[in-house]
Subunit: 204 residues, 4 copies
DNA sequence: ACATAACCGAGACGGTACGTCGCGTCTTCTA
DNA sequence: TAGAAGACGCGACGTACCGTCTCGGTTATGT
């Protein structure tokens, strides 16, 4: 699930016409466009196929379902957009990363992610895929930011790092998906100054 | 939307056979059961009607759509389950309320709520209904808990109360909907002690 | 198979909305039109549904397949068009009936019947339905024509009536379906005078 | 259409690897087997290719379509199986030829031919190919049988030879394709004695 | 001898129709 | 008039087959 499986590694000598890898991108692009226009619920495989000038079978050859296509489209985008900052200070890194993440979530991917979240409870495979990519990618960056802060001596000794990582993600996701309030810079600043820094930084 | 509309106010003197109010509960109960079993996406109106031994028209007479039925079912449950605690201390109130809320979310309503969240971006009416009930109900309780703490002099002067309310909800929802980690008592305790109390309470 | 089965005889008290019998006719009419335009092979259920402004499910509720729909459409037409002649003489009756039958087969129903014939070997139910209606209807008329001729003393004593009936049908069908030569009045006359009359009539 | 087109006449000097002529037979054999098993309608090119362990392109290099493949398969068989008898008497020749033809039609080719007949009205090329081979081959044999009978003085002067040929074919085809009654020897005998001989032979 | 060109098996591709399912509405009978 | 039952128009689903194409690999010929 989640990524087109024909990577080639486990495929014997290559018989028959090989899959056209460029169709992957065209289909992902089409999926993203359609989703941005009409949303996840109203996204139909026919629409994606038509926009990419592809047959539906070509989609189903690569992804098992609408969900699978969408999650793959999103995680691929996530991996390209979650750059790791290094400003030299904990507060700077947090601000940098969280504001970039907030901007990313405010785009079409945010809507898609939200739609996916609704499917997690009844789709275990999707859930583990989603958590293994979207979620851990973001948490790992935050963990490394805290690691570097520790090396610089910025952290308290007993800093609850896991909780900090969790709260950082939670604050953004909650706004995005539940309250609908804007994920803007002032909000990120307040989260960093009022919540995260007091939680882990020295002498606050 | 959201609540059965036949409350009587706008309906002319009442001619013909009156609606059987007990069908409301039967249908909500059926909806909850079906949703707990197969999830929101796979819930069909036919299934709900069949389980309640009702006709589909009977459902559509009361709710406008599948979404409307589900949101109403959930908010009604929420209103019954969000009791307001009064233990005499801020930490006690928070612990009490958040653990009760966590327990509530861990049940079938949690799954349903999660499913609804996926629909919010493309269903503005649903979104405002959801926020106007599920969300504000919980936030109001938290606000009143903080109010009482202030009266008792437990709060710092500049305590960011809005942020505290937001973080409290976010921490729970994030676990419930994103990470899937358990919403247990130790977690609630850690949120209260490590995050919320330092954020708003005096002399921490 | 072959005819909409909801005739009512075996259906308990009638629960729910009854089938709209006028849809039957509309769908049969649409099927006939589409078949006349594009032929049996190119006839699609979507096209029939669209022309009758019906949903495909409405078709499948009444007929099991494209074949079933078409055979029903044709046999109904056959029953309406195979009038029994009574001119007072064997030759007259044969001429009358066979020319009417030839005219009927020369229309759209002929093409449809031909298409159906191609399916008979692998569709036993269809075969028995086809033979039980289309075929026997026509054979029965011929048999009765011979019966009346016998009463009038026109038949030879040892007339091979079964063979006469069979050859009459065969001559027409062979032209229609195999050679494609015209099923016109001169041909019918020659069949009657050269083949059928010598076969069964006295003193020829 | 109808026969593999690479006969060589119109093809430039022959460059590259020449076609493997043995694939023709393998593919025709596979087509015949599949058709005998599932019928014409359910015959798919993929199935034929798979059974012959051939690629689909190999089929389409030789025949233009499914129909083309099937008609070629059948006419080739027809040409091999319609031997011309010479018993010395009209009745003997007719009996001999028609019983051989009946036996041939009772095999898988009969089913295939029937399937093809269903396609004739909407496939003019197929129709003329079918009539130009299957049909005329059989009619020519019958005509020559009548010619020899005339030379022996067995025919009436005004014998309607065309009608005799037509009725002979019609009687068999009608049973085969319409009524489904057996094409056995007694039936052939009765057709010869009761219908054909009286129609054309002297002194009957 | 060896490049050339057409062959071959395999299977991906764009497309069309399939038969099913769910939606929300409408229409019957029964209470 | 409400309610149960279920037919209705609509539209998306995921599958199957069409006929074409593109691979890697094979096999005769023509330079």
């Amino acid at each position: 699930m989640a990524t087109p499986v024909y990577s080639g590694a486990t495929r014997t000598p290559q018989r028959g016409r090989p899959r056209d890898a460029s169709r992957d991108d065209a289909l992902r692009q089409a999926a993203l466009e359609v989703m941005a226009e009409v949303g996840y619920r109203a996204l139909t495989m026919d629409a994606v196929a038509a926009r990419a000038r592809a047959g539906k079978a070509t989609i189903y050859r690569r992804w098992e379902s609408k969900l699978d296509l969408v999650i793959d489209t999103c995680t691929q985008l996530a991996q390209q957009n979650l750059a790791e900052p290094d400003t030299g200070s904990l507060a700077g890194d947090l601000r940098e990363f969280l504001s970039a993440f907030a901007a990313f979530l405010s785009g079409p991917v945010g809507k898609a992610a939200q739609a996916l979240v609704g499917e997690l409870p009844h789709e275990p495979e999707l859930a583990s895929a989603f958590r293994g990519t979207f979620l851990t990618a973001q948490r790992d960056v935050l963990r490394r930011i805290l690691d570097r802060a520790e090396e610089r001596g910025e952290l308290r000794q007993d800093a609850p790092r896991g909780m900090a990582v969790e709260i950082a993600g939670a604050a953004l996701i909650y706004r995005l998906m539940l309250t609908g309030d804007p994920l803007d810079l002032p909000f990120v600043d307040r989260v960093v100054e009022q919540v995260l820094m007091p939680l882990v930084a020295k002498g606050q």
